[in-house]
Amino acid sequence: MSTTTRGVGRTLAVATRATLVLTLAVVGYTAVVTGAARLVAPAQADGSLVTGADGTVVGSALIGQGFTDADGAALPQYFQSRPSAAGDGWDAGASSGSNLGPENPDLVAAIEERRAQVAVLEGVDPTDVPADAVTASSSGLDPHISPAYAALQVARVADARGLGEASVADLVERHTGARGLGFVGEPTVNVLRLNLALDDLEG
């Protein structure tokens, strides 16, 4: 065996030992972080699950869901989320955006169709429909809508529930998150939390 071959063999042996040791260290790190997370923030570590009026888990505060019937028609008593490209819509096991490009005819057609649908549902002029209502998010699981899209839906939701518009608008405002420090991120409305609060209001 030449010196070089011996050198390579020795180096590979060191490399193998290093890989093993570092793998153990990273597995240990994962275990320690998992344990510490249980102590520091157990609710978040488990996925920020939220429960409905009867105490059963109805989803995660961070994962958006659709508020439609089995046929995909919007339930008028609920605020509607953005369009979703995750699986067949809101599939939390298949997060994804549409990845449709800016000139893709499928995207252009989808936006036109959504704009018309939202305008009919809310009884407004198509030009009043905000951008987030007609475009799919990046994850397909966006839990939020813009305050503009929430405001657009207040009258319809109030009407469907026989509530005053002012009390619904008030609820929306209380579920609107501001920009951090006035410039970090965008203001948002968490749709699942808002709809749960609406159900609470009635129940």
């Binding site: 290093a18 869901q65 990845n99 951008a131």
Partner: protein
Amino acid sequence: MTALTTLLSLGAVLLVLAALYRPFGDHMAHVYSTDRDGKVERGLYRVLGVAPRTEQTWPTYLRSVLAFSFVGMVVVYALQRTQQWLPWSLGLPAPSEHLSFNTAASFVGNTNWQSYSPEVTLGYTVQTAGLAVQNFVSAAVGMAVAVALVRGFAYRRSGTIGNFWVDLVRGFLRILLPVAAVAALALVVGGVVQNVAGFTDVTTLAGGTQSIPGGPVASQEAIKLLGTNGGGFYNANSAHPFENPTQWTNLLQILLMLVIPFCLPRTFGRMVGDHRQGYAIAGTMAALFTVSFVALVALESAAMGTAPQLAGAATEGKETRFGIVWTALFATTGTGTSTGAVNSMHDSYTALGGMLPMLNMMLGEVAPGGVGSGLYGMLVLAVVAVFVAGLLVGRTPEYLGKKIGPREIKLASLYILVTPTLVLAGTALSFAVPALRDSVEGTSIWNPGVHGMSEVLYAFTSAANNNGSAFAGITANTPWLNTALGVAILLGRFVPVVLVLALAGSLAQQDKVPTSAGTLPTHRPQFVGLLAGVVVILTALTYFPVLALGPLAEGLI
């Protein structure tokens, strides 16, 4: 409003980095220079069988890098191919041979290109014992190589450039592990999940069903960003609310990606004994980063193109909580560093906006680049810049007191040729060879027209530059793309490493030439301008023709 937000967000990020620059950069310099080993480290060196005070020549250092990376590849490949027998695999089968090869190359090469959808492909064991391990160690390898090059400039008449095993262990134990652990817990507090619960089935408010995923996400997320890796635990990466739930986690993630690449110039300045040199390098990185970020905000806000115009804003593929500005800041960070993490879908950007992430990678990942690779990439370009300046004024070029002779400039020139060759050859082959073209056009491309060409160009740019982000509509899980992109990743990672270590060896052997009146000062704004100019001109000359076929054609016609 947008202009003010843009300014404030960039200002806030740069301010935090400026505050960390000295303490963290000095800490890293200490880590890689000290003669003292910790107790745990001494134990590790015994287990490994290495003598920590013995420095290596550049070929030995290189052999260690390559052997360690080779073993890593074998392990990640083997873990995937045996997934069906591993615990905590969520009942998932083994990925195919070509996908396993691609993923192994991708994570060992600090790229984290993902041809697969993680939540339906890989269980917790492969993610933790395979991918998360490489997230740590591929980052430590990048930093080690960068430090070896810095030693080349700092040492005089030396036959050695440090000890790889010591650099690896120290980078892992003293830099990556502690920062990642703290960051992981901060992310959990922000809402990132950390469990081994698998999927939780729930009945939604509207009466539908939803399977809510779990996983040890925060622990992996922290090192995904800190080590400029970028591989998501979930398909949607940092757009997924379980990876990046709030505006604050988004800010933290941006900082994690930038902190090591932006502070390593301080480490460099300290080790070569002149902090001004570090400021010049960091300044060049920051200038390129700033221009790219502002341009991206402007283009995405302008919302040019049929679909964005129709929608009223370029919100397709963007999350509500981030908005245009913080999406753009993340995208510039994810592609300006070699992370490749995304909090939005670049494929749905406006045509010209989508070109900017591509350009960030085409710069060679130096603004500020990956952990380690950003610094060594920029130092190689600095060598080219002093050579260009030398040609202009007719003097022998020097950098930091080291002569840039024929051997040095040959190595630097080869370095800057590697990734463009891989990008252009890979893209060209995909369309020129009929059988490959059928596969690419029939299966891989998602969007029609020139945008489809951009998807392929983006993929090879991302792989060769070890970024890992994508125009994600592309289906890369085909034998051709898995293999070609895997090879591009390996060559794009390790050929430059060979050249950089050879350069380090050659520089270390030289004595320092004293500065004279004829020496080009490399710490002044003039040099920052020259260096940035060299980076931009090289990129523009190399890639303009191919960009004209893709994003420029889509955006301007």
